[in-house]
Symmetry: C2
């Protein structure tokens, strides 16, 4: 039996992969490692030469500012490609911590380089994905820079929702956020107290529902309007990568 690569599966959702490509991608996930919730995977300023594919669970990247406040930079889900900054910086610019029990697959940055040399289609795919990540970041930048607390919460929930749905077809309108309100706040530049106020208000207004940790999005249209949210996944088009034959 061949071990499957969740990263390959993720990519194959967009473009067909050759067996050789799939095999090469699987090799990145040869060394899966279990990590417990709260475990530090990478610490800011550590010397790093590794990247990761997240196979299971959730991970976040963040920085701590000198005054102790934290900015969560990105929340990662299974199939995500993590820590590519180590290709260009010798010291990690961000920390990585598991948000839940997780399985990560570390591999050396030189293994990635060889992969890209041998498989130009994979190189093209990674280039595309990093552009998608870039746009996700600019969306949040606009959210932090120019929108109200309520809008930030709304767009954050929608973003997580849509990203989870990319890989999990069973999600219809509710999902496990698995983040504390403090973590939400640290992701969108608010305090936990104010996140709570916003969430409660949105609940009272019938925009969202909550039941033992699960969030239900009750009025997607209004949430998107409030959050000035655009679903980027719809417009994504991976035809740019060379075709298989």
């Amino acid at each position: 039996m061949v071990a499957t690569s969740c990263f390959a599966d993720r990519l194959a959702k967009h473009v067909p992969l050759s067996d050789a490509e799939r095999k090469a991608l699987t090799r990145l996930e040869e060394n899966p490692r279990k990590v417990k919730r709260g475990a530090m995977i990478q610490r800011v300023n550590d010397t790093v030469t590794e990247l990761f594919v997240l196979r299971e669970g959730r991970v976040m990247s963040f920085v701590i500012l000198p005054d102790g406040s934290r900015q969560i930079l990105r929340v990662y889900f299974p199939g995500d490609f993590i820590g590519s900054a180590s290709t260009i910086y010798s010291k990690a610019p961000e920390s990585l911590v598991a948000l839940s029990d997780a399985i990560i697959c570390p591999f050396d940055k030189h293994a990635l380089r060889r992969l890209l040399e041998e498989y130009p289609r994979v190189a093209a795919l990674l280039f595309l994905l990093s552009n998608a990540e870039r746009v996700a970041l600019t969306d949040r930048l606009a959210s932090l820079g120019r929108t109200s607390a309520k809008a930030r919460v709304a767009s954050f929930l929608l973003d997580i929702f849509d990203r989870l749905r990319v890989t999990d077809d069973s999600i219809v309108d509710s999902f496990d956020l698995k983040l504390t309100q403090e973590e939400i706040g640290d992701a969108i530049g608010l305090t936990s107290v104010h996140v709570n106020r916003m969430i409660r208000r949105m609940e009272q207004e019938g925009l969202i529902g909550r039941a033992n940790g699960r969030i239900t999005l009750l009025d997607l249209a209004r949430l998107e309007e409030i959050g000035h949210y655009t679903n980027r996944h719809k417009d994504m088009d991976l035809d740019w990568v060379p075709s298989l034959n």
Copy 2:
């Protein structure tokens, strides 16, 4: 005489390029186009298939939110690679406008694809650069999410300063910002009024000087401390790309 590629020059500052690579990169800049200050290069939601290398002048990318407010996502300088989102999205997620008279070199996204197929080292380089851009964005994200108005102004000035120095050795401690205070505000999530107050205060405190549009950074150490700024260029290491031979 061969037309030089400012993009190749930029890359060559980090890693040696072969003649063939240099030539291929130069081909991206075969169609330079002059644009006037204020000219719209790309409008959000337009169908796009082009990318650009900025040869001369300054360009910004931004979005306008439904309430009319603007978030500037990135300011670009000569040698920068612009608009790579068009490789993955058919509709532009951001607008591009010239901040000064500029020369841009548009090329088709398929030309880029062919380049990456033929020149894996260039593909690796672009992958690296997009990672550097990603870190620059996360730095600003942390700035917007978790730091005060004064800190944002300080780190923004330092960022521009350091980026200009990458290509312009003549810069010692002063530079032409070429941005209105409203534009600064739109980049760091403040109003022009408040940007003005911060700048004036920093001037009075002897942190910066101003003379007909030129900004002088008088106390780099304190500015870096105030802005929680890290110069990412110092730690950059392009050794990851395959060597030439």
